[in-house]
Symmetry: C2
Subunit: 340 residues, 2 copies
């Protein structure tokens, strides 16, 4: 049996409360007793029992990371790993812990939600890229559980951190425009996700800013998966774009494969820009020009925002939008101006 407060108290010859005060550095303890208590603590290797503590403080120092059902298959995409890494690191520095919840059982969603969220184990949660109709966010709101969303959300009262998807996409497409491309297609993300919508919006903004027409046949909806990239590119080909902005690197890989299938070369026959800058991007042949987003940092900031929320509830909504960055590699090339 691990030692308890009581035992430490015995050894130090004080009461339980005094030991408790020492551990929580309450001010009103005589320096000498404080000393004696610490010694007793060392002596028996005392470690506070977090569960018991939580029962009275109503705080567990555990935050949850909720990854909704729809995206668990994307786990091979380094987005979640990086987000997790950032989040865990922030937790470590603040002496919090991270509980990982995949909501991957569509039928039992609500049940799982109840079990996980209302068990009292988490002080708050981070919700990773929920689609707009995901039921988790409304539930959280209803239950008054502190949370921050990774990826912005139209609802006014929701705290989030996000990257500037609109601007990132816009930079990507403007890069293509500057290279002389005029027929620029896009394979979007799922349009029920804000990030999917935002990247499409950036695409539109870039075209509009350069007085290029927006043609619906140059826009096909994808799903952030490789297979979606393949299918998207196949459909897009009939609209014969000279360049394509693909809303994720994983889809860009699919697009590349589809092009190879058709014996089209990148960038000679068609230019490609991705989004994410996952390690794969630089490993592709040709190395992919793409938009880098600070995912790990986003994970860390999400945790910090959440802890702030937990410790200072009630303040106005918090939002952070991080910048993105265009990384130019070798998948784009100038479009020669044709005289025809």
């Amino acid at each position: 049996m691990p030692p308890t407060l009581e035992e430490v108290a015995q050894i130090a010859g004080v009461s339980r409360s005094t030991v408790s005060r020492v551990i929580n550095n309450h001010p009103n303890v005589r320096a000498e007793t404080r000393e004696r208590v610490w010694q007793a603590i060392q002596e028996c290797g005392y470690q506070p029992h977090a569960v018991a503590r939580s029962l009275v403080t109503n705080r567990t120092r555990i935050v949850g990371m909720v990854i909704p059902e729809t995206v668990t298959t994307l786990f091979t995409d380094p987005f979640f790993p990086l987000l997790l890494q950032g989040a865990t690191e922030a937790c470590n520095t603040h002496h919090y812990q991270l509980l990982l919840s995949l909501f991957n059982d569509p039928t039992g969603q609500e049940k799982t939600y109840q079990r996980v969220m209302r068990s009292g184990y988490v002080d708050g949660v981070i919700v990773a890229s929920a689609s707009l109709q995901d039921p988790v966010i409304p539930s959280l709101l209803r239950d008054g559980i502190p949370f921050v969303s990774v990826g912005r959300h139209p609802d006014e009262q929701i705290n989030y951190v996000d990257v500037d998807n609109v601007n990132g996409a816009r930079m990507a497409v403007e890069h293509l425009i500057q290279l002389g491309h005029r027929r620029i297609g896009t394979i979007t993300g799922p349009l029920d996700m804000i990030s999917g919508q935002d990247r499409l919006r950036g695409y539109r903004q870039a075209l509009a800013a350069h007085d290029l027409p927006i043609e619906e046949e140059l826009i096909v909806e994808g799903d952030f998966r490789e297979s979606g990239g393949v299918a998207g590119m196949q459909r897009l080909l009939s609209a014969s774009p000279s360049a394509v902005f693909v809303a994720s690197d994983i889809m860009a890989l699919g697009a590349l494969k589809a092009l190879r299938q058709e014996n089209l070369r990148v960038p000679q026959d068609i230019s490609l820009v991705g989004f994410d800058d996952i390690p794969l991007a630089s490993a592709l042949e040709p190395p992919l020009t793409t938009v880098r987003q600070p995912v790990r940092r986003m994970g860390a900031l999400a945790v910090e925002m959440l802890l702030d929320l937990i410790e200072h509830p009630g303040a106005g909504p918090r939002r952070i939008v991080l910048p993105t960055q265009l990384v130019i590699r070798k998948s784009c090339r100038e479009k020669e101006v044709m005289s025809s």
Copy 2:
């Protein structure tokens, strides 16, 4: 305030204990009261308070996943994500939760260990690919915390799940031998990890089985990272192998880049086999022949073994070794027999 047992009891007109019995399906409750209690539970939306429950049962239904310091940078490698996914899914089906701990602060290792492991929040842990001198395993043993290691461990008493690294490596090298290669190099994993050692052992076994000499200059130690693959291949080149078994796909990517640098083509000039079968492998040019390991399954089995351990302590050591599988793509080619 969420409802407590007491309130449910009030509504149902019974005592706290009876409600508790109903919730834990104890047999000795009259069907009719049971019914009334369930109704009361629905009525007020009661949810057991896990923390309070844990205090008395000494069980949290939380398992920890410990990822030691040395590997956190490898988080972009899909190994951990997949392991996590498998583990989380298994947790879900058994109504457990998963607490993720990266031990990424080398100085505070022991402190973090104490805080996380001895806080009483976890019923047991899974230790992911610790190096042989990692201090976590001895600590766990000392503290009597149930755990299973992902990756085998020489210590007799340690429970683990692993893949058959020896055999996987052996298959890979035998594939090269069958293609006619005789000078086969290898870039190993870190040799302070059992998986690194085992894959090297497989390499040696394959050569030995075919009466090929083992030349030390054909063996260079890597680190499971891309940069290690680059460096390894550069060194290996002076020994002029016609084929190389690289102990991880990520390193194989590095090796490929190093070869490109030297204007050597794969597989025309040199054949390459990797290990892991991460998504990158099939995306490379040429698609990489590699050894597939069931990582996700390993994660799920690790959790299941751990739960078994928690629920039936004391039984003999448990071990699972899963088979690996050679996936032939396009990075290897027959070695023409030269008459010189």
